[in-house]
Symmetry: C2
Subunit: 684 residues, 2 copies
């Protein structure tokens, strides 16, 4: 809607609008203040100028397509209409993606972008009903199917002749997959598996696209053959007729209902009433069931780790993306919003000039980078270790697993909190759907429980750390990411506090080592006191989660510092990045000051000095804040926020968004005549 037209509708006789100009000026002035070139940082984050260009072109190609735009924002639709809209758009989107691929214009990078928290979430804002087809169904067939099975299924799946999902989680069991109850009994007479849901809690529950979209699924079930349970295995099951989409015989299926967010993912439930599938439908690259029912074990039960770790790496990347969006929105809004007074008689300051506002925003700018660099590092480690794995070397697998667990857990939890901090920093307006902050939170907080519940994952990392500690005390050499434990064995962990970035990195490691040592001591004390090792573990588990968190924070800070050292950038950019790195490091010491105080060598004065350092950094970062978030280069369509657009026209956009509400299309809603008027006239 043209602004003139809107202003007219809103009742202004003139389009002269003081606010309009003032807002734009504020944000333009911010850009003039920048001490570095934002484009240099954009290129650095993308991996080079050509990558930036490529990304921008792809964004333009998809985001200018009118077929992928909404007439009425989805949040005004009914749940059913939201689903129908998402199917319409997902079909158009992936048709376009396939066409580009066939024309040689698209690659895996394009698929990644379409399923990511950036471009993908700009088009399918509240989840993608096809996501699991690409992220889980196809990769599982590739990773766990035999060559014959791949030949049979991959072509059809890849060309979207069938659409699949991945049905693992059940109503009664999530992270603890050994507890899954769905059964697959092998019948050697017919050479079929009988898939069954023996209890209500065995119903599959949660898989995306399962409700009304997918016609096939990988189903994870307890395999029974030759009279014994062989543990969980993956099976391909047809769910719906390919022509009529009606559920197949014995398939009980539907969606699970509305959720906090992701209401377009069509999460579903699925029950089996003794559904028979051919023997060939068990994915048999690793374990096998022969025709006569003989079970052939997988050479290693760690071979299925891969996909799980891959997804956790992706989560860390996505959380960094979503947080970048939230921070961009909140920082730009804070440059435009003027409120209250600092000094009597002076104009209302930009709220970003309040120290408390800087404290809410700037550490989260730094977190975007910390998480992004951690994701990059973890991605490389994942690739290195999986190629070692293909050569049969599994030595570093536990370390990778421990890292993926704690980074997924800490980044999703930190990210969710940070996004809420950004939303609340926008005051009431952050509560509006059109700020896009509530949906962004909805997407990230979901990651705290899916793909491994965060506390369970922290305890898995803690188990690795306890082992590492015992290795350290036994003089066994430790893998690189826990090598810092070595020195904690011999010396106590209270080193002299050093007021520097390197000092803070070491202090983080000392804190982690101290916590790990203490938890190990408490475990031993409990066991010596006559408690079983399992109960001792449970009784110590609060501290154990804190060990894993402290370890993860040491990794995050250290990796930030290490990554900076590898960059060849201009002095002006280097200074900005160093300030952000320092802010991140200092912030977390202050957040966890109780851990850093004696016996970890830190005194109360050190903490007070850190507070001063923090305040200095906030002031230093202030003039560059808008330019830093500009350099994240998130286009308006991806941000999708009335508060965060590049031009800073916050108030106009809020009105433009309100004008889209169907309720506002009529001056008087019909409920007045039907209910309200009789009520008002009833002389109560």
């Amino acid at each position: 809607m043209a602004w003139d037209n809107l202003m007219y509708k809103m009742g202004f006789k003139t389009t002269k609008n003081v606010v309009y100009n003032k807002c734009s000026e504020d944000i333009e002035n911010e850009r003039k203040k920048s001490t570095f070139d934002p484009l240099e940082l954009t290129h650095l984050l993308d991996g080079g100028p050509e990558k930036t260009l490529e990304r921008r072109e792809r964004e333009k190609l998809f985001l200018s397509d009118p077929e992928l735009m909404d007439d009425v924002p989805a949040e005004y639709l009914s749940h059913k209409e939201k689903y129908e809209l998402s199917i319409k758009k997902a079909c158009k989107l992936f048709k376009k993606v396939s066409q580009l691929r066939d024309q040689g214009g698209g690659d895996m990078e394009m698929f990644k972008q379409m399923l990511s928290g950036m471009l993908g979430s700009a088009i399918l804002k509240d989840g993608n009903p096809f996501a699991l087809h690409y992220v889980m169904f196809v990769p599982t067939i590739m990773g766990q199917g035999t060559l014959e099975q791949q030949a049979l299924w991959m072509g059809r799946a890849w060309n979207c002749e069938i659409i699949g999902t991945y049905a693992q989680t059940e109503l009664g069991h999530g992270t603890f997959i050994r507890g899954l109850e769905t059964t697959a009994h092998y019948d050697p007479k017919t050479k079929e598996f009988i898939i069954n849901s023996p209890t209500l809690t065995s119903y599959k529950w949660w898989p995306g696209g399962l409700g009304h979209t997918a016609n096939y699924a990988i189903v994870v079930a307890q395999l029974y053959t030759t009279g014994a349970c062989r543990g969980i295995h993956p099976f391909i099951v047809q769910l719906r007729d390919e022509d009529t989409h009606k559920p197949m015989k014995g398939i009980k299926i539907g969606e699970i209902g509305t959720k906090l967010g992701m209401n377009a993912t069509n999460n579903g439930y699925l029950g089996f009433d003794k559904v028979r599938i051919p023997r060939e439908n068990m994915l048999m690259k690793n374990a096998q069931v022969l025709e006569d029912g003989t079970y052939v074990k997988s050479p290693s039960d760690k071979l299925t780790y891969g996909t799980m770790m891959f997804v956790r790496v992706v989560i860390v990347q996505d959380v960094a993306s979503y947080l970048s969006k939230a921070v961009t929105i909140a920082v730009r809004y804070s440059a435009v919003r003027r409120q209250s007074e600092l000094k009597p008689g002076e104009p209302e300051p930009q709220i970003m000039d309040y120290r408390t506002q800087q404290y809410k925003l700037f550490p989260n700018i730094a977190s975007c980078l910390a998480m992004r660099f951690a994701a990059m590092w973890l991605w490389n480690l994942y690739n290195n270790i999986t190629s070692e794995l293909e050569e049969g070397d599994m030595e570093r697998l536990p370390e990778l697993h421990a890292l993926a667990c704690c980074l997924k857990s800490v980044c999703s939890a930190d990210g969710a909190k940070a996004i809420e901090t950004c939303r609340l920093a926008c005051g009431g307006h952050g509560y509006m759907t059109c700020s896009n902050l509530p949906a962004t939170y909805g997407l990230v907080t979901a990651a705290c429980t899916y793909e491994g519940e965060n506390t369970v994952l922290l305890l898995q990392t803690a188990r690795f750390l306890m082992k590492a500690w015992h290795q350290a005390t036994s003089g066994i050499k430790l893998t690189p990411t826990v090598a810092y434990l070595q020195s904690a064995v011999t010396s106590d962990t209270s080193r002299h506090w050093e007021h520097s970035l390197q000092g803070i990195v070491r202090a983080h490691q000392d804190v982690a080592a101290g916590k790990i040592k203490l938890a190990a001591t408490n475990m031993e004390r409990r066991i010596r006191g006559g408690i079983s090792p399992e109960d001792a573990w449970n009784n110590t588990s609060i501290e154990l989660t804190q060990c894993a968190e402290a370890h993860c924070r040491a990794i995050l800070v250290n990796n930030f510092v290490q990554t900076l050292e590898t960059f060849k950038v201009s002095d002006s950019l280097h200074l900005v990045l160093t300030q952000l790195c320092e802010l991140y490091a200092v912030h977390w010491v202050l957040q966890k000051s109780g851990d850093f105080l004696r016996p970890h060598g830190t005194s109360r004065d050190d903490i007070n000095n850190l507070q001063t350092w923090l305040e200095t950094l906030l002031a230093q970062i202030r003039p560059n804040a808008v330019s830093i978030v500009d350099s994240f280069d998130i286009c308006d369509e991806v941000l999708s926020s009335a508060l965060g657009a590049r031009d800073g026209r916050v108030y106009e956009r809020l009105f433009e968004e309100a004008a889209k509400s169907p309720l506002n299309k009529e001056p008087v809603n019909k409920s007045f005549h039907k209910y309200l008027k009789p009520f008002l006239k009833s002389n109560l």
Copy 2:
């Protein structure tokens, strides 16, 4: 839906369901373990057995009324349908309330319940479009109208012949009300005010019920008369024709669009194009404009504080209610949910047996009581001080103001975080709308920004604390809630740590005093360094908010302890309440351990001992957890949660809720034929 019928639909041939019995048994066993009588606690919390009875009867009366129930849960409807449903139900609800009142069966307590986070939110789950009529429109006329004005308006408002809202907040200004831009120019020729919106940012934005519901509003505007601006004043403005509901001439009105939550409150925007209203429509109990335009000042500018403080007191109560709901849901779910294994070969434990789960839940049980007792105490203080006020005594007003500010701020922020902790403690299922945890969060997090943004409120408390500190150093006697500062002036704040509840209370006060003293010192240092007092304030503001928070935590802990001492209860209940009080106190020391370590007399060993105390308390509270939340006595209709119902039939209810989705009424959605089939058959 009958369970048999549902099970049949879901594909079970038999109704024998192991899970059903198992779940119920688990929660029944919990109740058998209780060491105290939950009803005794219910009576205590309600204020006596007769109050409990009264509340339950009222709940039954309203919650059994089929006209107040939904056919399809509102979350499946479009935004417009949600609005229409809320109007339908609000009209029926308040008609019923009025009828009861006329029959002598209802009192103010009934209105309070209808507008509260308990009964009210059970019927109008996502906000009440009439709320501001009762909470702000009527009270403002009563509080700020002259007797003539009350005579003119109160009857019509009270009988709902007109429906009003309170239009204060604008697009550009919220908490900082002096910055409001709407103008009211007095025209002595016609004896009218001309209400105008000079800028886009001057549009009213946010008031509940304003969009399409209210036909009148109290409008807060900058008064201009005899050539000068006289500051903000309240005016009654007719918004819509009483018969047609069409907007009056010059009134630009609509709703602001969808939000994170509260989507049935019909928040609106409102602009004025030189709207003329009679002089009599300015509420003139305090300030007045005479016929000739002469302005007569209010005897005190503090007289309008009342409503604002009242609302903040109510927020603390409501947060306590909402948190009680969330805790009840999460505790009951944790008794029913069994997951993973503690010991190989043993049955899966109830997740409440995991120490980490207890750590997520039990401190929040304690918080419910801490907030509830704080709300009770603040309510009494409010009543005492407002009756002093009516006698012209304003001495304790600043103290009340400071307390209302920090308690509203800390309780809403703690409450929101606690509810999210409860939600995440329910794993993925907590993400379902039918858990009622997402909506509960939506209602509470809104309170972090409305009725005074939390950071701004903390800084208002901090201003009071700085004054109190200077009084203390000048030897002036302090009001009771800050009397603890007196001793910090003479001695340093590092007292010997005492491992007891009383010791923790004093330690909290020492920490608060220490922070206040340090912030005052830093302020002075900055001013001595040549910075203006305003800039020094801003530069110290991070620490100042932390002073206010620490002060508030000292108040909360102290009040919990003091309140317990006034109760005459059985020994068994006293023990349970003491354990919860200790847990609350210990938990917050550990959360803020950095503050309690030296120089506040606490050593690292003390902290380790506190961790042990915490773990002991978690184990002690474990057997009573379900009974404690039972004693909150929140009926299933008010809880409105598939995870939290009294009978623990979690999994059945999840299915029952999914069955309500309109998408599940048809096996194949029309989008298959329209979009998905052509896509799958297109041979990409």
